[in-house]
């Protein structure tokens, strides 16, 4: 039998009560905050894992934002190229109509006017800007207007590159395509050199109005060039469509990945309510029992009988 000192009964009883209170407080904080991992010391391994997962998740969310940004920008360009395609189609129709012996001077004049309107619309589309007032088709040269009134390509845009954005580790997409590769022909049939679609239309317009001797050749060349440019525009749209598909797939991958990350993270970090509440109940009952037993023991003293 171990001899017990009276002060020991109190000290140990008190330390038991304090221990249970501290457990209860911990449970209570876990339940209230919904987080069980608040200090690296709680569970260093889980904390390290949770930190890595949280960083991963934050990076994934950034990639997701990047995907949304890129998608928005590519969609705007893609739809602008759609309008440009239909404008080019109309230009092509005019070129074919003009190449008809039955056209009179008046009707040719009307066609030239029509062409002029289309050229203006086309210029506006090719120089269109985004919500921040920057040019869609100027690549890296954000504030350089791609085409001037004469239809020649701004040299700053000509030397510009596409802008890329990261959408996953090691994966980037082009957010935009500069005008050079879409609206310029390296060797145009009409001018014999590098020319923009606008410059080709200029030549076509002049030919329609002035009807030079080689007008047939001009018409033929212009048609060839328009077809070539339309081809380039279609290709650019196709490539943007591909980019959008890539972005869509990346978005799906990203959210699937992020769901898994979040689930794992939640298992590591968040309070399991069932467990926490059970523990709280347990500590509550323990504390109650300890308090009651302490009061009982306290009542037991031989001195009570020395009266």
């Amino acid at each position: 039998m171990m001899r017990v000192s009276t002060s020991m009964i109190y000290t140990q009883g008190l330390s038991n009560i304090q221990q249970q209170q501290s457990t209860m407080l911990q449970n209570q904080v876990q339940i209230a905050s919904g987080v069980k991992l608040t200090n690296p010391a709680d569970d260093p391994v889980a904390f390290a894992q949770a930190t890595n997962l949280a960083v991963q998740s934050s990076k994934d969310q950034q990639y997701s934002t990047n995907i949304d940004n890129a998608t928005g920008k590519v969609q705007v360009q893609e739809s602008t190229l759609g309008s440009i395609t239909s404008l080019l189609q109309s230009v092509r129709d005019v070129a074919i109509q003009a190449n008809n012996a039955a056209q009179s001077g008046t009707s040719l004049g009307a066609l030239a006017d029509q062409l002029d309107q289309m050229q203006k619309a086309l210029t506006a589309q090719m120089n269109s800007t985004d919500e921040r007032g920057e040019y869609l088709f100027s690549g890296t040269a954000a504030r350089e207007q791609p085409y001037d009134s004469s239809g020649s390509l701004n040299p700053a845009v000509s030397s510009a590159n596409p802008v890329n954005l990261a959408i996953a580790d090691g994966q980037t997409v082009a957010m935009n395509q500069p005008a050079g590769g879409i609206f310029q022909l390296a060797s145009s049939a009409t001018t014999g050199g590098n020319a923009s679609i606008l410059q080709i239309i200029n030549q076509l317009k002049t030919a329609i109005t002035t009807q030079p001797a080689n007008v047939q050749t001009v018409y033929a060349n212009a048609q060839k060039d328009i077809d070539a440019v339309m081809n380039q525009v279609t290709n650019a749209r196709g490539s943007m469509g591909n980019t959008l598909n890539t972005l869509d797939a990346a978005k799906n991958d990203n959210s699937a990945q992020n769901i898994i990350t979040q689930q794992t993270l939640s298992t590591l970090r968040d309070t399991d309510m069932a467990t926490a509440i059970t523990q709280l109940n347990q500590s509550y009952i323990n504390l109650q029992a300890t308090q009651q037993s302490m009061v009982k023991i306290q009542g037991l003293s031989l001195f009570n009988y020395l009266r």
């Binding site: 987080v35 960083v55 950034q62 504030r143 990261a166």
Partner: protein, 549 residues
Amino acid sequence: MPDLMSNSVSGLLSMQQALATTGQNIANANTPGYSRQSVNLATLAPQYQSGGYIGSGVQVASVTRSYDQFVVSQLNSAISDNSRLSFLNNFSTQATQLLGDTKTGIAQQTQAFFNASQAVAANPTDLTARSAFLGSAQSLTAKFNQIDSQLQNLDSQIGQQASDIGRQINTYAQQVGQLNDQISKAYAINPNAPPNDLLDQRDLLISKIAMQIDVKTTRDGQGNINLSLGSGQALVLNGTATPLTVGNPPSGLSIMLGSTDITTKVSGGTLGGMLQAQSQLITPLRNQLGQAALVLADQVNKNQTAGVDLQGNPGADLFSPTASFTPQTTALVTNKGTGAVSGTFTDPTLLTGQIYTARYDGSNWQVRTEPDNGAAPVTVASGGALSLPGLSMNFSGTPQTGDVLNILPTVGAAGKINVVQQNASGIAAAAAGQPAYSRDNTQMNALFALSRTNMVGQSAAGANDGSNLSDTVGQAVSKAGAFAAGVALSAAAASSTLANLTAQQQSVSGVNLDEEAANLMKYQQNYQALAQSISSANTLFQSLLSAFR
């Protein structure tokens, strides 16, 4: 000649002393350090009369305290251990709490900074995105600064607390010395009458010293208890105490007993815990965070200066330039020479996160890693140059044999990192050669890629065989967490050992009030019986007298 009267009177006197002692026990039931006392009763020498020896009563042979020297010395070492661990436990919980949780921790803020570069990458000319990026750089450096200064505060709090503890130990030691004098005098007068309460007081003082520092006790058999610290240096010898001086210079806590440096020998008590907290938690943590901060500054600055800003001008540093950081070095206060070491960072990514110590052996500096990894030390002549991974150091001054210098390369660097780029338009998002207002985001994409480049602690520039920045920071945090968790476990064990030993000690020395109540009854009844005996003796004497009337 023994008779009923004188035997009963001797009993009455003894019972009075026994009752007084019981009263003393009850009075001190809750006095710290009190050992219950008991009277040892013995018969008085019997007298020979015709027919045999007749007892001549009872006496109090001695009043002794219930005391187990073995348990007490075990208890003292358990107290040292427990207070070391409970200090470390509280301290490391406090320190790790500063590092944040898994949602707002510094690892996440590091990633958040890199994420912010992507808003600039999406719209490189957008000043709002650029400002947000600068803002996130500022909150990251603020977080680094805050953690470093809080860790430094904890460190200087240790210093203040430690010098208070030093003064306390000195007071206790002086009192132990005085008690030694009184106790040895008392024993000299009567070896069989222990000065119980003085003994208790001295034991209590010793346990209070043990709480602050690991102390060894030796008894000289004359009643003195001598105390020694470290590897046997005397704190108290008989009546004399040697003063203890505790300081917290930049090189860390220093504990001097008289003129002897016992710092490295202290391994227990709160002071032992403080030494461990500094060397095993705070310094490595500050060093690792500093390493991450320095690599961040260095690499992001390299990225920025390689590009052009919104105006097309060459990029400038975003964070404090690498040249503004210098490796932290400290010299022990006990150094006798003027030897010093200083240097510069050559390539922060090559830093290994190591701490080094250089000890002068009389002709050369011997440089080892701290903690010693067992590798052969690097030998550098006094005044020579030392090349370490990522560091270039130079020794100077005239050292003396035994002098020690510490090289803590990146301790404090996390507190020095700042955002020096003031203008949102100054951020270099575009590659070199791009004109003003370029939408090029090459530098921002490269910056984002830095977040997953394993460059911290790489073996050679471009090797990328180290770890990335968030990982480095995360590792530093979880390493501190692992230390704290280990300490918490040991602290729980030490506290239950202490509880067990205290129970044992109390089992021997503690007062049990029920027991005292029983004793009270026992002595009271005995006293009443003795009173009755005296009354009987009186009656007997009266009947004898009446025979002559």
